[in-house]
Assembly symmetry: C2
Homo-oligomer: 104 residues x 2
Amino acid sequence: MRVLVHPPIEDVTLQAVLYALADPVRLAVFADLVDATEPKACAIYLTVNDTPVPKSTLSQHFRILREHGLIRSERRGVEMLSTARKDELDAKFPGLIDSILAAA
Amino acid sequence: MRVLVHPPIEDVTLQAVLYALADPVRLAVFADLVDATEPKACAIYLTVNDTPVPKSTLSQHFRILREHGLIRSERRGVEMLSTARKDELDAKFPGLIDSILAAA
DNA sequence: GTATTAGTTCGTGAATCATGAACTAAGGGA
DNA sequence: TCCCTTAGTTCATGATTCACGAACTAATAC
């Protein structure tokens, strides 16, 4: 298992954000992480919008969210806890995340 | 040549908007059309960001923008004139388009 | 040690994408 | 009228990306 990739916020592009959130599963996960008050494990999202998401597919979605700069993940024991990089994203793209989440 | 497809604004989804604008060429074209005061032909965009875009590729990009509800096109003589559906999109997704264009 | 749980990686078939070539549609002359 | 030009579309295909089951790894508990 490779080390986790987290781009610095300077390297996060608008295209990357739009691409990452253009998928309904990733948008749902990200929206939930933004609302969360503490880091969450991905296993929580094995069903999204009442439809099951295969484990390997979910893992890929988390990798894309992470490597495109939307979330930050760290291993805690046997699970991976993730948080949304909301503050950083808000600073770089004012109003963007809020208007996307409002539209969702 | 088939008839042009323009979804009613009720059928335009957030996912569709994010998907359509996640491509840099489409975002550049859309941003330019939003700024335009009158309909524009697509041939103007055969180079975008100083890089050439093949004609068939550009045609596909316009089709995606159109069929996902971002632009409206109509044939005028030998050319296809397009406009951004900014007002409709603003009404349905408040602040979304503006924050995307501000970030671009 | 084995077992369990959480998540990742690999392999592959399916779906999507980019683009050159061929085509269509609309005018504009001779 | 027929040919030419211009603008854009469609088709075919090779390349890339995607989804997901199977196998694997990493951490903890017993």
